[in-house]
Amino acid sequence: MRLSRGERIFQVVNYVLLILITLVFIVPLITVVATSFVSQEEYARRGALILFPESPDIEAYKLLLARGSIVLHAYGITFLRVGVGTFLNLLLTTTLAFVLSRRELPGRVPLTFFVFFTMLFSGGLIPMFVLYDRLGLLNSFWAMITNNLVNPWYLLIMRTFFMQFPRELEEAAAIDGAGPARVLWQIVLPLSKPSIATIGLFYAVWHWNAWFDAAIFIRDWDKMPMQVILRGILTQGMIQDPNSPIEADILPPAPTLRAAMIVISTVPILLVYPFLQKYFVRGALVGSLKG
């Protein structure tokens, strides 16, 4: 089919605009990557905003990721947080969602309301802080785990998913003598793997990116996750770590260090990005359309 002149103009304008919009998304990221490779010498000569460093310099990365460095340690904390946190998130979310999906369970309606009321109303920051203080969770790794341990929104998504299961399947298993534990373990869970994976990724990315809870609850440097260290480096320049004195003769310029730190904390997300995108898109659709 031949396009009319108007249609061709429409198409060209649309493509050009979309290319410009796409550039707005990636140019800041590209400049950060480029800046992270600028050496002190080149910075003094040309400034920090260089798209193509003449002699890419990895001094900033060497410094940030030196053995025993605080950044590396914080990286470990973050991985631990993502692992332990996501596991417990999924464990509690799945079990509670499974129970609340049983249509004939006595007390299901009030229990469901008990959970979803928390989407409507919350006590706020200070009472939470007082509670964490009382429970001894201040300056503890577990403060980052108990915060948002069960996301009511994800719980709702999962419950809706469980409720859509054909009942015949479970009834048949029950007739064959399978108890509720076996029904959950051998029928419901295997069939729900993709949904659980999606919700798990939601939780994992949340843990990876979480900053505020750690910033207010954690005080010791050696317990802080990467986002807090990243924030420290972005706002105060280099973090002075008493345990590992800086050995480099010439410090990389501050913008280079900041950029390198951003790259370091973003690379893992980018590595799993295609995977994330696939599952997240599906999760976003399930969560919003079937609510």
């Binding site: 919009i21 800041p28 990221l29 079990t95 509670l96 109303f121 029950a174 951003i262």
Partner: protein, 331 residues
């Protein structure tokens, strides 16, 4: 498929039967049902305990702290033993200069973000939907979704590095164009727009997902009929695509009402500074500063509670309106 009658021995049936044929007294029914379903209640216990302790705990504590006069030195015992002071903390907030300042900042920033952040993904989705080349389409989508996965700390870091006077992208361009470098991030005239721009940048791509899904469900015959009637692409977009997704648009807009008091706490906290407090201090940042930095526990809790009540009313309104439009609401 017909099922045989469930045998009476199916005590551990995964589908508990609430009512049995005989109906003894209430309490013995309760005992029986608990016994039959104990596995489910046990399974739900950890999750329910979390909500009890970590969600309802702060609600109960919050109501106590807000109506008392608690400082960090009173300890947890003080929260229990101190006398109630009525609405004194709320009164102090309503009478203070900050009340109108933080309330108006919250609503203005929220409204600006809605005014620009809401239509942006619709427009982008319409544009992406017109692309016929699959590879190009997918590339645009992949790149535009990316900011959704970046932490707020990183996004704030990007904003700072783009706007810095020490060789930031924007100032480099300004200087190149013959202007003077300017500290945009600490200028009250620019700050709210920086917030709005950052939000649009971070959310517009991701926001297209629902709209694109809705557009993919439109019957292609509609377009074919329109082409036969001589409609061009622009007219097709206006008369077919847009009306077909109007339901999704209206619904998402309604749910934004419930979110009106959330102007973006972390984003503002990470980007603002005392020089822009006058235009950027929202309820949440004010609670954070007065509570955790100035240690005014009771006052800050009262401010937070004020927001929580208002937010609940907004969510309920949003839900009621959504029901009117034939949706099942959030729950």
């Amino acid at each position: 498929m017909s099922l045989p009658a469930t045998p009476r021995s199916a005590v551990s049936s995964p589908l508990p039967r609430a009512r049995s044929a005989s109906s003894p007294t209430r309490s013995s029914r309760l005992v029986r049902s608990l016994r039959r379903n104990y596995f489910y209640y046990l399974l739900a216990l950890p999750g329910l305990l979390y909500f009890l302790v970590f969600e309802y705990g702060p609600i109960v504590l919050g109501v106590m702290i807000a109506f008392k006069d608690i400082s960090p030195f009173d300890g947890f015992e003080g929260v229990i033993s101190e006398p109630y002071v009525g609405f004194a903390n709320f009164q102090r907030f309503f009478d203070s200069y900050y009340f109108w300042n933080v309330l108006s900042n919250t609503l203005i920033i929220s409204a600006l973000k809605l005014a620009f952040g809401f239509p942006a993904p619709i427009i982008l989705a319409l544009m992406i939907n017109e692309v016929r080349n699959t590879l190009f389409k997918r590339t645009v989508q992949t790149i535009s979704y990316m900011p959704h996965f970046l932490s707020m700390v990183i996004v704030a870091g990007l904003v700072m590095s783009v706007l810095t006077t020490e060789g930031g992208l924007v100032n480099q361009v300004v200087v190149y164009a013959g202007g003077e470098p300017h500290a945009y991030l600490t200028d009250p005239a620019f700050f709210r727009w920086i917030l709005v721009g950052t939000t649009v940048w971070q959310t517009v791509g991701w926001g297209t997902i629902l709209y694109l899904a809705a557009m993919a469900n439109i019957d292609p015959q509609l377009y074919e009929a329109a082409v036969i009637d001589g409609a061009n692409r622009w007219q097709q977009m206006r008369t077919i695509t847009l009306p077909s997704i109007s339901f999704v648009i209206i619904l998402l807009l309604i749910f934004q009402i419930g979110n009106l008091l959330n102007a973006g706490f972390e984003q503002i906290l990470l980007l603002y500074s005392p020089s822009v407090y006058s235009v950027s201090d929202i309820i949440d940042t004010y609670v954070y500063r007065s509570g955790l930095l100035e240690m005014e526990y009771s006052f800050a809790t009262a401010v937070g509670l004020f927001k929580a009540v208002l937010a609940m009313v907004l969510i309920l309104i949003a839900n009621a309106v959504a029901r009117r439009f034939g949706h099942t609401g959030i729950w």
